[in-house]
């Protein structure tokens, strides 16, 4: 790290004779204007992190990717003139045809346009991935923060409850939840609920462990000694120091959730035809993968790009929140 400031305190650089004036020491040059953004305004964790983020190419790149994916989800007609929900656009006679002028990704098992379906499938996949990630991070994160900070009985109860959820085999549990509530008209949200219910304990554990590590550090004791209350310690001292691993695991999980949606769709309980999702497309295409790889490759490629974009975003945010990496 920077060793230069050390010089300041050794020897005559430190005019002890100069008594305790309220004025800045004469050695201090007038405030430098180049440090404008830092001048006078207190730099908070988030504003510094944001300042740092805007300068990271990886962050900008991932943000652009995510923006494109979001536009694709909500205005798919901007990207394709073919409406895959219109049965007339599919022709069984052209099933598994390779790329052609009007159909650059080729056609799938039912002769539908793969490109249009991929574009239209983004919405469900991204909603499921993002919503599940947000829900698990919030629920697991808050509970983990609370259990890690409080310890004792709160921790014991919360930890035993998560163990119950851990004990449920995930595919069976998801099958059970989706099958039970499939007639409630919840649409794809049933998948979000099923995945969230089963996945939050992982976030909980990571947050709890990180909080416990942070809690034993001196700065928490020092904060208490200087009069910080429990909620201040929880949100100012523990949370920012425990956030990094949660962000990493959340962004990695996001891809996992989209893949889990595919598995559920494959079992017939997730997103079901005529709805479209990448998972469903991958599930449909994999029987004929050797004959026609493209209907599987393209949604899988988009899935990978989405996951990559969110992982890059998470990485950038994590680095920006660690002052030592700036």
């Amino acid at each position: 790290m920077s060793e230069t400031p050390q010089m300041g305190q050794v020897g005559p650089a430190f005019p002890d004779t100069q008594s305790l004036t309220e004025n800045p020491p004469p050695s201090a040059p007038p405030p430098v204007e180049q440090a404008k953004k830092k001048d006078s305004k207190p730099a908070s964790l988030w504003s510094d992190a944001w300042y740092d983020l805007r300068r990271r190419p990886m962050f900008i790149f991932s943000l652009i990717l995510i923006a494109i994916l979001l536009v694709m989800s909500f205005w798919p007609s901007l990207f394709t003139s073919i409406d895959p929900f219109d049965a007339k656009t599919c022709e069984l006679s052209t099933a598994r045809q390779g790329p052609s002028a009007g159909h650059i990704f080729g056609r799938d098992n039912l002769g539908c346009d793969v490109y249009a379906k991929t574009i239209y499938g983004a919405k469900n996949s991204i909603i499921i991935g993002v919503a599940t990630t947000v829900i698990t991070a919030l629920v697991g994160g808050l509970l983990g923060l609370l259990a890690g900070t409080r310890g004792g009985l709160t921790d014991t109860i919360a930890s035993r409850v998560t163990e119950v959820f851990f004990a449920i085999p995930s595919i069976l549990g998801a099958l059970l939840i989706t099958a039970t509530f499939r007639d409630q008209g919840l649409g794809i949200w049933i998948v979000v609920i099923a995945l969230s219910v089963l996945a939050w304990p992982m976030t909980y554990r990571i947050m709890r462990a990180a909080v416990i590590t942070a809690r034993s550090q001196d700065f928490v004791l020092a904060a208490r000694a200087l009069g910080a209350g429990q909620s201040r310690i929880m949100f100012r001292h523990l949370l920012p120091n425990a956030l990094a691993p949660v962000i990493v695991i959340a962004t990695i999980n996001l891809g996992g959730f989209i893949a889990a949606e595919a598995a559920l769709s494959f079992l017939g309980v997730g997103v079901t035809s005529p709805d479209i999702s990448w998972g469903l497309m991958i599930a449909d295409a994999r029987n004929r993968f050797l004959e026609a790889p493209l209907p599987l490759v393209f949604p899988a490629l988009f899935l990978s790009i989405t996951v990559l974009a969110f992982i890059m975003l998470g990485d950038a945010v994590r680095d920006a929140l660690d002052p030592k990496l700036r």
Binding site: Q9, D16, E22, P24, P42, P323
Partner: protein
């Protein structure tokens, strides 16, 4: 800053001759698998405004635990305070609600720690952390509190404070970090400052500067200061009186000059003799024989007897009371007269 919680504590002065801070017969235990570890066994000391009390003792003697009990930052459980009082302006802090204690911490009694790097939150700038004291406890705006932070950094002599206020703790050297910690602790003008080995993690030249700074700040604001250390060399210049702790008890307390002139407890004597001295160059450094006692299995009688050159038979059986030597001086040794006269050892 609810007034109700602070009402119990008079702002200035106190009741009669009640000292600013008085620890009275304090006991602290820790529950462990091997049983209750008695870390502090009946410690009493007092502190007046403007006074510096040095609490001296080796690791595990209970000096830090006593300080943490005063601050109310012990984790309970496993810690337990079965007995004792910590009176601040005559009010027993141990009987206050947690909310009321939070009001006292930082504002009336503040503490600084040994390792300032780990005692500062790594993800916030130092300016943010210092100014937070004003925002939380004084309700200041961000801008005003930041100005106060720069002022404080100047006051603890951080060069170019204005430029460095938005730096992070890891960008400072050890001595500078400790200064920042000191700035945070004096931010709200506390009446008592507890410094728990403030210079142990620093190199010798920086140690002297930090001690000097502490002494100066104290003179200025007339704070009472409790200086916890195991380094007798650090103590001599700044302390008014010394309390020597051994195995959770105070074994000797006295004005600083008396102790240096003639210790009245064999343990203090051992500590003094183990200071390296220029005129003993080339000779072997003296060390107190034996090891600190196991707090789970304390020796009978006087806890120091297995290591004591003055040991007699009754030391093994009778716990020595804190004998009064003079009005300001006590020793927990049956044979303090012999020690004082330097008959043996």
């Amino acid at each position: 800053m609810s007034k109700t919680s602070l009402e119990a504590l008079p702002a200035e002065g106190g009741l009669g001759n009640e000292p600013l801070l008085a620890v009275d017969d304090l006991h602290v235990e820790f529950a462990t698998r091997g049983g209750a570890v008695k870390a502090v066994n009946g410690v009493s000391y007092s502190l007046d405004a403007g006074e510096t009390l040095a609490v001296l003792g080796e690791s595990g003697s209970g000096k830090s635990v006593t300080a943490q009990a005063i601050m109310g930052i012990l984790d309970i459980p496993p810690a337990r305070i079965p007995k004792g009082e910590v009176r601040f302006h005559g009010t027993d802090l141990l009987k206050l609600s947690e909310e009321a204690r939070t009001q006292v911490r930082g504002q009336r009694i503040a503490m600084i720690f040994q390792d300032a790097l780990s005692a500062l939150n790594p993800v916030f700038t130092v300016g943010w952390q210092i100014s937070e004291m004003f925002r939380v406890h004084r309700g200041m705006s961000k801008r005003d509190s930041m100005k106060k932070a720069v002022e404080l950094m100047d006051r603890v002599r951080i060069p170019a404070a204005k430029q460095r206020v938005n730096d992070y703790p890891h960008q400072f050297s050890g001595g500078m970090r400790q200064r920042i910690m000191i700035a945070m602790s004096i931010a709200l003008d506390p009446e008592v400052l507890i410094a728990d080995e403030p210079t142990t993690a620093l190199d010798v030249t920086v140690q002297a500067q930090v001690m000097e700074l502490l002494a100066e700040l104290q003179r200025e604001s007339n704070m009472g200061m409790i200086l916890i250390t195991h380094d007798l060399g650090v103590v001599a210049d700044v302390a008014d009186k010394i309390a020597v702790m051994y195995a959770g008890r105070i074994v000797e307390n006295a004005p600083v000059h008396d102790i240096y002139k003639a210790p009245a407890h064999p343990y203090t004597k051992g500590l003094l003799e183990s200071i390296p001295r220029v005129d003993h160059k080339g000779q072997e450094l003296y060390a107190i024989k034996g090891l600190p006692p196991n707090l789970l299995a304390m020796p009978t009688g006087c806890a120091f007897h297995p290591r004591c050159p003055y040991r007699q038979d009754n030391c093994v059986t009778d716990v020595p009371p804190l004998y009064e030597i003079s009005g300001t001086r006590n020793s927990a040794c049956h044979y303090w007269r012999e020690v004082l006269d330097g008959d043996q050892g």
